[in-house]
Structure formats: structure tokens, C-alpha cells
Symmetry: D2
Subunit: 136 residues, 4 copies
């Protein structure tokens, strides 16, 4: 069982291209993060608040498959789905497409681990976990 | 059978940190690319030349596992190993450690696909393939 | 005489923060570029098209004054004004504010030079220049 | 009266290029920061330690002039000179060249302001100021 996908649109910045004329591959991880931020916002909780309350969500692993390149000024759609909530871990799936043509560009998955302010693993706070499970 | 690992040291830049006080997770993909560039250089061929000769190596998939964080001004060691050469694909493994303590920070793998100047898959040129296989 | 300002809003990405807990200073130049892209779009010409038609606009000089920091997830407003059009040069002013509070964050100016595909200075094409002067 | 210049060499990363085939203009600010870090290190004090001791050096203004482009895999030399030390401000000049050809690429100046941990201006600590003035 997974939550419903959350959509976020953005435009490719010139700074994100490389000399191959396409978006440099590391930037898709940034777009995934923008998608996660939007998902949390739509749940009524925002990550800035989560972090100020003492929980950091750090990326523990990431995998990406690159299907087709994004180009400067393309409109991009990031579709983020929360697929698993455990006591210390959250897993998100991403589908990144060209918002105008629908072409699939990148599929990705990241798992995040909850850390306290010293960087030690901790349980996700009850409030955040409740919001995430309600959404799921 | 894999080639011997190639080492490249770098220092963490302030620009690479985020407000968690550690290196933002997408930058490790950049360090992997720096490791690949160094591996090709040590083989006597450099990627700038490969690209000018009409072959682009684009990342087709990437996976990263984050074990411990790197911090500002840490000395980092990127150990890059070419683990597979096929007609159109190269696969590299990376071990990123703290160069002073030896602590393991990130392990990663990327597969690159050879493309021509229009972005269509092509075979890796005979010259590059020969150099890579000799190294393997 | 200057053109009317063009507004573009964006949100601060986690990737844009540094360990000081604020946006790393180089990213404001990226936001200026996003503002320029939007200005050209609102003039009915887009930079991707300009570039495909053989004119590159490269930054020749830039100056920035940092008044107050932007933080993660802040809504940012980039106000871009074209202040000068010469045969080979365009100058833009930027006012970057917090979109919610109106607080002034950064003021900046960049001058761009028109280059041909080999990187040699050239005159701005008649079409682009006409559109820019009409806007002015 | 200014201090003697400090040199730092680096190689252009693929991630630093853009679709114009040259280094994207904001990255030179990152290289300036790398130059400052090296200057402080050669003075026997490192910025990580300065920051842990409660002083943050934030960029208050920056100006850059772009003379010629850097390209992928170029060896770059960053020459950093401390040109002024006041109670709350430091000003640095930068000359960025191609390390192989000596070609001048970018000249820049940044002024940094000392802040305490809450982001309020403060005097540069006596220890750091002493080291900087000895070097001057």
C-alpha cells in the first residue's frame, strides 16, 4: 500500500545543464528532494518544521535510472510517492517526466533515515509518523 | 575480473555542505565523475578527447549507499574501479572514504552508456575499448 | 530609461543551503539567470531559441550585494530589470527579496555579452534587439 | 599593503560546465571560496576551526569580471590575496587563470563580514585578526 502521488512542476535552469547539452545527472536528486518537500507540505507538515523539532531525515540510499535527458527550459514534473514508513526509515519513489510531452525521463527511489541532532538514528516522531500513516 | 582501483583525493568545499552540517547527498555523484575522469586519464586516454572524438558517456543508472557523512574541509578519497566493459556500457564501482581516518562514507555504482553526438546509443570506439580492456 | 521589472517566484531548495544554515552565496547568480530567462520569455522570445539561432549571451561581469540571508523553503521573489541594451551588451539589475515578508536579500547587476557559436563577440541579432528595445 | 598571494590548483569538473561548453559563471565564486580556505590554512588557522570557535565569515559583497572561459578538465589556478583587514570585514582579491597557459580567466573581489552564531555582526576574534595581520 502506498500513498497517492504528489506532483510538483519546475523548469530546467541553465545552471543545471552540462556540456552534453542536457541536465547533469546529479541534479535529479535535487529535484527528488524538492518533490519530497512538496509531499510533506501537502500533508500539512513541512520539513523545515520537522528539522527544527529535532528530527533530520538524511538520505541513506538512492538509486536512479536515466531514461531520457531533460533540457534547458523544459517544464519538468516530479511525481513523488511515499511507499514505506518504518520506525526509522521512509522510502519514496519518484517519476520525473517532461510536463509537456509526458516523456519519462528518470525513475528513482530514495530511503531516508531519521537522525537526531547529533546524527544518531532515532525513531520518527509520533506526530510526523501519524501524518505519514494517515496519508498512506 | 575487474581493473585495479584508481585513487583520487579531494577536499570538501563549503559549497558542498548543507544546513545539516554535512555534504549534501547529490555531490557524491560529482565526486564519482571526478574519479572516472581520473581513471580514464591514468589509462592514457582522457574523457575530453573521447568526447571530441564523438563518443559521449552518459550515466544510465546510478545507485549510492550513504554510510557516514563527509564534512567541510575533510580530505576525501575516491577509489574508482571499472568492473565491466560491454559494447555499449561501462560499469564503475566507487568507494568514497575519509582519506585521513579511512572511514567508509559512500559506496556507489554507475553504469554509463555510449552515445553518439545526437544522443543515440553507439558502440564504444575500438580505441577506447582496447585501452579499457587492457586495463581490465 | 529602463524596462519594467519582471517577477519570478521560487522556493529555496535544501541543496542550496550550506552549513551556516542559509543559502550559499553563489546560488543567487543562478536565481538571477532564472529571472533573465523569465524576462526574455515575457518579451515573447525565449533564450533557448536565441541560443539555437546562434547567439549566446555570456556573463561578462557580475556584482552582488548580500543584505540578508535566504533560508530553506523560503519563498523568494526575483525582480529583474533590463537597464541597458547596446549592440553587443545587455545589462540587467536584480532585486531578490523574501516574497512573504518583502525583506531585501540581495541586489545584483550582470552584464552579458553576445557571442557567436565560436565564442567571438557579435552584435545582438536584429530580432532580439528589436524585442528588447520595444520592452525598454 | 596586501598579503602575498596564495595559490591553489584545481581541475574543472564536468558538473561545472554548462551547455555553452564552458564553466557556468557561478562556479567561480566557489573556486574563490576554495582559495580563501587555502589562504587561511597556509596562515596556520583553518576556517572550520574559526567557525567552530563562533565566528562565521559571510560574503557581504562580490564582484567578478569574466575575461575568458574555463573548460572541462582544464587545470585552473586560483591566486588569492587578502587586501584588507578591518574589525568586522575582510576583503580578498582573486585572479583565476588557466594553470597550463597562464591565460587570465576571471578576476574577482569579495568582502566578508564576521558574524556570530545568531548572524549578528561581530568583531573578528583577536587570534584570527593577529594571524591575518601578521600575514599582511
Amino acid at each position: 500500500m502506498t500513498g497517492k502521488p504528489i506532483f510538483l512542476d519546475l523548469r530546467v535552469r541553465y545552471a543545471e545543464t552540462d556540456q552534453m547539452g542536457v541536465v547533469y545527472h546529479s541534479h535529479y536528486l535535487v529535484w527528488c528532494e524538492v518533490g519530497r518537500t512538496e509531499l510533506l507540505r501537502q500533508l500539512g507538515t513541512d520539513y523545515a518544521t520537522v528539522e527544527r523539532a529535532g528530527t533530520r531525515l538524511a538520505v541513506a540510499d538512492a538509486s536512479l535510472r536515466y531514461h531520457a535527458p531533460a533540457r534547458y527550459d523544459d517544464r519538468i514534473r516530479v511525481e513523488t510517492t511515499l511507499i514505506s514508513v518504518r520506525s526509522r526509515f521512509l522510502t519514496f519513489d519518484y517519476l520525473i517526466t517532461n510536463a509537456d510531452t509526458g516523456q519519462r525521463l528518470v525513475t528513482a527511489r530514495t530511503t531516508l533515515v531519521a537522525l537526531d541532532e547529533s546524527g544518531r538514528p532515532r525513531a520518527i516522531s509520533a506526530g510526523l509518523r501519524g501524518a505519514l500513516e494517515a496519508y498512506m
